[in-house]
């Protein structure tokens, strides 16, 4: 309808103006004078069209069609533009989805901004992030500060329902848990203080689990299930989208705190079964809801320690991301976000450069249009529409690419993680909005300058066909220097991160992780008592040691570099504690632990069969312990309190314990049989497949749940996952950045050669050698690289300071890496200018002089 009317209008306008012209020429009796009187017909039409009102929409349509046509006309340019922009936007969107998931997202509960975590400090040092139940109850009773305080402890649960067993992640929780979070039931009821007090065998499951495992059956409320072989009743289902008070990972079940013995066994359930509520047992992760109007600062000054003599102070921090916000990847992700943002800037600079070159090629077209009466605004608008089309195509490509990058990264990151702490990220509305905004912004970034430049051609010169003028050449040079400087930053950072990874990979572990398989087994999950569990472990170890192909087998509570640690109180007679004392940690291990890990026994003996509960208490310490507490004297035969009286019977070499990057710690090893611990990891040094080992275990007890089967080396590699990702991605992005730079240098030098073809001809004609001409352009490209490097180095040195906490074994200003980075750029600059320089050297003087 509108189009049809539009056509009629156009015809009428044409008629109207023609009749005017006819009258005028009748009057003047001269067509030329008449035409001059009326003026530029095309321009008048354009101005009249502007008065028609809907013209902007119409013009946009025309600009769009025109932009598509002109892009189809130069498919290589379109492809390069969309691909480089797509890569840039894709990488940025993917990284932003992680930033969003790790740093921006909040718990899906009402007013999450009022949730806070509590941590205990002594002398300004963080001493505790977990607390005893009485401490949390006391906090919760302070109704002037808090609208509820919860405590929780994550547990593994073996769920048997309808005859099918399945492990899942659950948590034991305090009575105020749901009140604090303000989470309601989807069906049934949630846990109450009464359940905790009664020790009721009830559980609450997640909505997702109800819909999945129980197929949305409303009969799930009141259903009898087995949890770790004990009968429980499902009390209700939590509201949709709730997976525990943490953003990463997935908790599917809440259980009363008082039932913890069913899920943790051993150490925790020993004694009279009241350990969970004792003052000395700090184990609960807290989360509190501040009253409206109460600030964190007010709250933290009013929290008092439970023992009046204690010097402890407390800090209250933002808890809107949950009880144990995972900060492992926060910094790496931020750094990568910075890197991809730089890559996008480089891609934009490259595009701007390409568009400038294109604008130079189209300068005559624009000159013609300007002289025919097109307004500059009209030309700028049309070029901006072209940029927008490129940006939209790039944005769409980028979104697709982002999906792929996110999936790949998640698969990599979650490979070594259980569902309990798996990472989630994806394209939610925030992320998609970010991508759209980014696309628009890039269009402005790379499109505006070239558009402006090309809308101001020197009309007369262009129409005369002059090629002497260099449209936007200076700006392109500036862009190249800018690109090189940014790329240099990325490459330098990538170099530092890669050297960090190799330093960590070649670190001296103090043991040999090769060919060690680790498996987790917990007989108490099948309802066995700790004593029965001990016997089962003994039988398994016996069978394994008798198995051909098994060099050694043992148990440990903490496997090396798993990330866990145990810290207990101990005393060394004759040693007065100094503030310089390094924290001392523990491990509970079975005989054969050191042999399994090939950790050298320096003197004394390993634990043996006689080191059982009834026998005298013994311990093995490492070299650092001797250095710190025993002044380097022979430790064998010395007695310490850890926590009971033990005699040191062995001395072993230092080994990495919790984390590769940490300094070595003093360590006390206690025999597993003399402590109350459970949840052992079985470690086997063997050339056999894990399957063969699992068969041996199944032969002892077919029903034992075996989980987290892996090789120790893999576990160490997984511990390096953030370093590996950082190194890999930063190297990839720096390669991309360098490639974009090289493309830019190539384009610029090639342009410079074609622009100066006649000059080269003259030079040859008056006797210049090929080498002289080659040098001319090599110098030009090297000047650009040099300028880029000179700008880039200070920038890089400033920015890599941010990386400091991520680096290991290399300084943020490492001169060796810097030298490499510079060398790579010089090489890239030379390589990029090789083709155009060769072309320049091969120019025939005669042809060149005729060159137009």
């Amino acid at each position: 309808m509108r189009l049809w009317r539009r056509k009629v209008r156009e015809e009428e306008l044409e008629r109207e103006l023609r009749s005017h012209l006819e009258l005028e020429s009748e009057e003047q009796q001269d067509d030329h004078t008449a035409a001059r009187a009326l003026g530029n017909l095309a321009l008048i039409k354009e101005q009249v069209r502007d008065q028609w009102g809907f013209s902007w929409l119409d013009a946009l349509g025309r600009d769009l069609r025109y932009a598509l046509r002109s892009l189809r006309g130069s498919p290589v340019f379109a492809l390069v533009a969309v691909a480089s922009l797509g890569l840039g936007i894709g990488a940025n969107t993917a990284m932003f989805s992680f930033v969003n998931a790790l740093l921006l997202k909040r718990l899906p509960v009402p007013e999450s901004s009022r949730l806070v975590t509590v941590a205990e400090y002594e002398d300004g040092k963080l001493t505790n992030t977990v607390f005893s139940l009485p401490f949390l109850s006391q906090l919760g009773q302070n109704s002037r500060l808090f609208d509820g305080v919860l405590g929780r402890y994550p547990v593994r649960v073996n769920l048997t329902a309808n005859g099918v067993a399945e492990p899942l992640n659950g948590e034991v929780v305090t009575g105020d848990y749901f009140k604090t979070l303000r989470v309601g039931p989807a069906i049934g009821r949630l846990l109450t203080q009464q359940d905790i007090d009664d020790g009721a065998p009830v559980c609450v499951i997640s909505y997702a689990m109800w819909q999945g495992r129980f197929r949305g059956d409303p009969g799930v409320v009141g259903m009898k299930v087995l949890l770790n072989a004990r009968p429980y009743t499902v009390a209700g289902v939590t509201q949709k989208g709730f997976f525990g008070p943490q953003l990463q990972g997935r908790i599917d079940m809440q259980l009363p705190l008082s039932r913890m013995g069913d899920f943790m066994g051993g150490f925790f359930s020993s004694g009279d079964g009241t350990m969970w509520k004792s003052k000395g047992f700090r184990w609960l992760e807290p989360l509190a809801r501040l009253k409206p109007g109460v600030t964190s600062v007010q709250a933290q000054t009013m929290i008092k320690p439970i023992k009046p003599a204690s010097k402890a102070t407390y800090r209250v921090a933002d808890g809107s991301q949950g009880a144990n916000a995972d900060s492992t990847y926060a910094k790496p992700v931020t750094v990568l976000m910075g890197i991809v943002a730089l890559v996008l800037l480089i891609a934009c600079a490259n595009l701007a450069s390409l568009l400038l070159a294109r604008a130079t090629a189209r300068a005559r077209e624009f000159a013609v249009r300007l002289s025919l009466g097109a307004s500059r605004w009209r030309l700028v608008r049309q070029l901006m529409v072209e940029s927008l089309v490129i940006a939209c195509c790039g944005g769409l490509t980028g979104l697709g690419l982002a999906l792929w990058i996110i999936d790949t990264l998640l698969a990599f990151l979650n490979a070594g993680r259980s569902t309990g702490d798996s990472l989630h990220a994806g394209l939610d509305p925030t992320v998609i909005g970010f991508a759209v905004l980014l696309s628009m912004l890039t269009a402005l970034l790379f499109g505006l300058a070239p558009a402006w430049q090309s809308a101001r051609p020197d009309v007369v010169m262009e129409l005369k066909g002059s090629t002497a003028k260099a449209g936007g050449f200076g700006m392109r040079r500036f862009l190249i220097v800018f690109q090189i400087a940014l790329s240099l930053m990325i490459l330098f950072a990538a170099g530092l991160l890669t050297r960090t990874l190799s330093a960590l990979k070649t670190i001296d572990l103090g043991f040999d992780p090769a060919r060690v398989i680790t498996l987790k087994i917990d007989p108490t999950m099948n309802g066995h008592t700790p004593e029965q569990a001990d016997q089962i472990f003994d039988r398994i170890l016996g069978r394994l040691r008798a198995q051909p192909g098994v060099a050694a087998a043992s148990l440990a509570v903490i496997t090396p570099l798993e990330g866990g640690m145990i810290s207990l109180s101990f005393e060394v007679p004759g040693h007065v504690r100094k503030s310089s004392d390094v924290q001392t940690n523990f491990n509970m291990v079975s005989p054969g632990y050191f042999k399994t890990l090939k950790q050298p026994l320096l003197s004394g003996r390993d634990f043996g069969e006689r080191d059982v509960k009834k026998g005298p208490g013994v311990a093995i310490v490492n070299q650092l312990f001797v250095d710190q507490y025993l002044a380097g004297q022979n430790p064998i035969g010395r007695h310490i309190k850890a926590p009971g009286d033990v005699e040191i019977v062995g001395l072993v070499g230092n080994a990495r314990y919790q984390d590769l990057r940490e300094k070595l710690w003093p360590l006390i090893y206690l025999p597993a049989k003399q402590t109350e611990s459970s949840g052992y990891t079985l470690m086997v040094r063997t050339g056999l497949e894990p399957r063969a080992i699992m068969r041996v275990i199944r032969a002892v007890d077919a029903k034992l749940p075996i989980y987290d089967v892996r090789e120790l080396q893999d576990q160490i590699d997984e511990g390096l996952s953030s370093e590996r990702i950082l190194s890999f991605l930063s190297t990839l992005f720096s390669a991309l950045a360098t490639l974009l730079c090289s493309m830019g240098i190539y384009g610029l030098i090639a342009y410079s050669v074609s622009r100066r073809t006649r000059e080269i001809g003259v030079r040859f004609a008056i006797g210049a050698r090929k080498m002289d001409v080659a040098k001319l352009f090599l110098r030009e490209s090297m000047m650009l690289v040099l300028a880029g490097i000179l700008v880039g180095i200070p920038l890089a040195l400033v920015c890599t300071r941010v990386l400091k906490s991520l680096l290991y074994g290399v300084a943020p200003s490492d001169p060796f890496t810097l030298a490499w980075t510079i060398a790579i750029f010089v090489a890239a600059g030379l390589a990029a200018s090789l083709l155009p320089v060769l072309k320049a050297a091969r120019i025939e003087p005669l042809e060149a002089l005729r060159y137009e």
Binding site: L13, R15, S19, H20, G39, Q47, Q51
Partner: protein, 114 residues
């Protein structure tokens, strides 16, 4: 020929409306009328005449009709005609213009005011 004076911004609309008060006319007639009346002092740029006509038409101050000028049946012209809204607009612009010229006069020639 005397020096031509550029039309003041915004006065073209008023002149067109005033011209059409005499009766319907087409673009060429309007331009000629303004030029003739001012003894060629005011030169109407055709480049701005047509955009102005179409703008006034869109604001519904003018109505347009294609018709042949009397005897000559062969050729049709687009005749513009003042609408009721156009008349009102003319009155408004006229009084605004009078106020303005009066104000300018008071600044320029204060003595004559007495």
């Amino acid at each position: 020929m005397p020096d031509r004076i550029e039309l003041l911004q915004g006065t073209l609309d008023m002149l067109i409306l005033r011209t059409l008060l005499l009766g319907p006319a087409h673009g060429h007639e309007i331009a000629k009328h303004i030029q003739r009346t001012t003894a060629d002092l005011l030169q109407v740029e055709h480049g701005s005449l047509y955009p102005a006509l179409h703008r006034l038409e869109r604001k519904a101050w003018l109505a347009a009709k294609w018709k042949a000028p009397g005897k000559e049946l062969k050729r049709e012209f687009k005749y513009y005609q003042l609408t009721a809204a156009g008349r009102k607009q003319l009155l408004a612009e006229e009084s605004k213009w009078k106020q303005m010229t009066g104000a300018i006069a008071r600044v320029m020639w204060p003595a004559e005011e007495g």
